[in-house]
Amino acid sequence: MTLTRATVRTPKKLSSPSFFHQPIHPHSAISANDFSVAEVRRILESADALEKDNPIKRANRLAKRRVALLFYESSTRTRTSFELAAKALGADTTLVSSLSSSIEKGESLKDTGITLKALGAECIILRSPYSGAPYLLARATGLPILNAGDGMAEHPSQALLDLRTILQFLAIRSSTVNEKSLRGVTLTICGDILHSRVARSNALLLPRLGAKVILCGPPEFLPDLAAEMTPGLVIERDFDSALRQSQIVMMLRIQAERLAGVQIDLDDYRTRYQANAERIAARAPQALIMHPGPIIRGMEITAEVADGPHSAIANQVYNGVPIRMALVARALSTVAKKRGPK
């Protein structure tokens, strides 16, 4: 027997690449980083166009196309908004929710995805309590996946609708959006940033358009290293100081369901971080007040501020439908645009 060195290396071609090498459909929207600035502009323009579109004509755009909504967490705002968006384009929608019995007991996300695809779904809108779940679904099905919130990770459609709200406030036209559009604009995100997918998606998106984003909150909700996530972020522990610098303030609720043992003195929290009328009037009387909801009145924000003249909360909800129309239309568009390197 002779042992010899293999002189020619012949890596065998494998029948199928391993699961984690399966491609993600380029029309997915999983992270705010999925979109180049040019693509953000196109989505905003598409949202404008679809919003103005004749409703009858609009309802033919995706007539009889099939969109599945797969929701493992309860959600009123996001689910309704996506559903109305898909229906406004004429798509057939089906809701599979963990609250109804339609998610088989113990069935994996992968198998549920494969089942939905076999039933004809061409796009799946997913909300999951698990960070990264949309990538799993995208790999398993090959379908475009729209992320309606995954764990603590991301909520990209929320970041886009927040951007639309901000641009409206600043009277910036969608067609002009570029890397400098938000130069000179300072926005504070305040609250439970650690557990917030909305905060992450906004913090990833807005600095790329030139905004300065201040993250504000106590260390329990905002570790120092959060600012290292992407360029353009700064941490400010003093809410009053953050307010003085900001044209826009985005308040976040405390996510009791994700606290996992974090202890916090709520009275102290209110004293330091609540957006109340007195504080806003003194520090940022002209600032736009945003909140992705759900609001816990009297905790992170008071009724006067949430319902006040500078509140954009209703505008945010309104903007959800056009933005999500644009995302659903993009997901189901047949023109495959190559996703460029980020």
Binding site: S18, K110, Y130, S131, E154
Partner: protein
């Protein structure tokens, strides 16, 4: 060993035996399951032997992996002792130490013996490691004398660290009387609830909860403090992953304590960046860490603080890994990539001599767990031999793995150093064709 096994004469190779420091051209005769002779090239006359030409190859003691999960009894869908040791043989390992987190757990002499029975079809020597506490609950010790009698070489609650000071002290004392090491998976689980990766910016960015470095180093420091109170106590720290914990081991050793430790190939080859977009084949416990920790592992290997390269081979079925990151089980396979990674990273990139690398995979782990007459090539030792080409570059394909499971982050990696032949107790258990 089957009695009909022909003697084997391995000729023309470069024989490297870290136990004796020998590194020279030698021929090696294996007969009746033992090493029969080591002589200068051409000197051995054995007309009845099958000749193996090992030109350009390294001939070394069969490799020893002191940390594997063979999943039997109880989880044969992930791995069996037969498939796990087949993967071991393909990776050049002839000795593996099997962790006790089986179903039922290896906490009784019956299970310990069952794992070593010939019916298991092992193609490598399996030394069981027994549970340190009943049900690995950290409350009451198992029967160490009986488990040692049945063949256990160490005790551990791997995966469920022993947190209580008193019970850990008891374990160290009871094991010391029998000269058994207590192996600790050093993780203060009070700090890692719900965590699935290393703490840091990346965990924050991915929205995953991170295990702080202190969860590992804190428990290592605690264990070292307890060890000081135990006469002849021996603590072995499993799969070290942080610079801080490694420093603690280094200091304890300088102060004369009997502390040994192991590092896995993935902790010296990869960082947390390998997780990418939630790839669960990069999820294990301890998690992949930062680059500074990875380089600290390499320093610890180079300066001798690390006693063993151990794989923590942890097979899982595809359906278990193809889940949401938080839900997927911890662990990766490692037996077939360990040598190729060690040579590619430690030898090629960090210029570590091959005999030093082999020492970490043979004689030093044998010493650490007191595996007598394993890990060397002296006449009379079991005929455990690996023959490998140290220069061959090759691409690892998980689909071709002998393990039942394919959960590896190294699929498609180019490695260096390829096993050609593995002989376990005189029997050819792997031959690359």
């Amino acid at each position: 060993m089957s009695p009909t096994q022909k003697p084997l004469l391995i000729r023309g190779g470069r024989l490297v035996d870290p136990a004796t420091g020998l590194d020279a051209p030698r021929d090696l005769l294996l007969r009746d399951g033992k090493i029969a002779a080591i002589e200068n090239p051409g000197k051995i006359k054995a007309p009845d032997a099958e000749i193996i030409n090992a030109k350009e190859m390294i001939v070394a003691p069969g490799l020893i992996d002191i940390h594997v999960h063979l999943r039997e009894p109880g989880q044969g869908y992930k791995e069996t002792i037969a498939t796990g040791t087949a993967a071991a043989a393909a990776g050049g390992f002839t000795t593996v130490c099997a962790m006790p987190n089986t179903i039922p757990a290896n906490e009784t002499p019956e299970v310990t013996r069952w794992m070593q029975a010939p019916e298991r079809g092992a193609t490598a020597r399996v030394f069981p490691i027994a549970a340190a506490t009943r049900g690995s609950m950290g409350e009451a010790l198992t029967d160490y004398p009986a488990l040692k009698d049945a063949g256990a070489v160490a005790v551990t609650d791997d995966g469920k660290p022993i947190l209580g000071d008193e019970i850990m002290l008891e374990a160290l004392q009871a094991a010391a009387k029998l000269r058994l090491p207590v192996i600790q998976h050093a993780e203060d689980t009070r700090l890692t609830g719900g965590c699935s990766m290393n703490a840091g910016v990346l965990a924050f960015r991915l929205g995953l909860r991170g295990m702080p470095v202190e969860a590992e180093s804190g428990l290592v420091e605690r264990d070292i403090a307890l060890l000081k109170q135990v006469k002849n106590g021996h603590l072995h720290v499993a799969h070290l992953s942080t610079a801080r914990a490694l420093d603690a081991v280094r200091r304890a050793r300088r102060s004369g304590l009997h502390v040994t430790c192991e590092v896995t190939p993935h902790h010296f080859a990869l960082t947390e960046e390998r997780i990418g977009l939630y790839d669960t084949n990069a999820k294990m416990n301890p998690p992949l860490r930062a680059e500074s920790d990875r380089t600290a592992m390499i320093e610890g290997i180079l300066d001798g603080t690390v006693d063993a390269i151990a794989t923590d081979h942890a097979p899982h079925a595809a359906h278990e890994k193809e889940q949401e990151f938080d839900r997927a089980p911890n662990g990766i396979t490692g037996l077939e990539t360990a040598l190729g990674l060690a040579i590619a990273v430690l030898h090629v990139k960090h210029k570590m001599p091959l005999d030093k690398i082999l020492a970490l995979m043979t004689t030093r782990p044998a010493d650490a767990l007191g595996l007598r007459s394993r890990g060397g090539l002296a006449p009379g030792f079991p005929a455990d031999v690996v023959v490998f080409d140290p220069a061959e570059k090759w691409v690892f394909h998980s689909a071709e793995s002998r393990s039942k499971s394919k959960n590896t982050p190294f699929d498609g990696w180019e490695l260096q150093g390829r096993v050609q032949l593995t002989v376990s107790e005189g029997r050819i258990v792997f031959h690359r064709r």
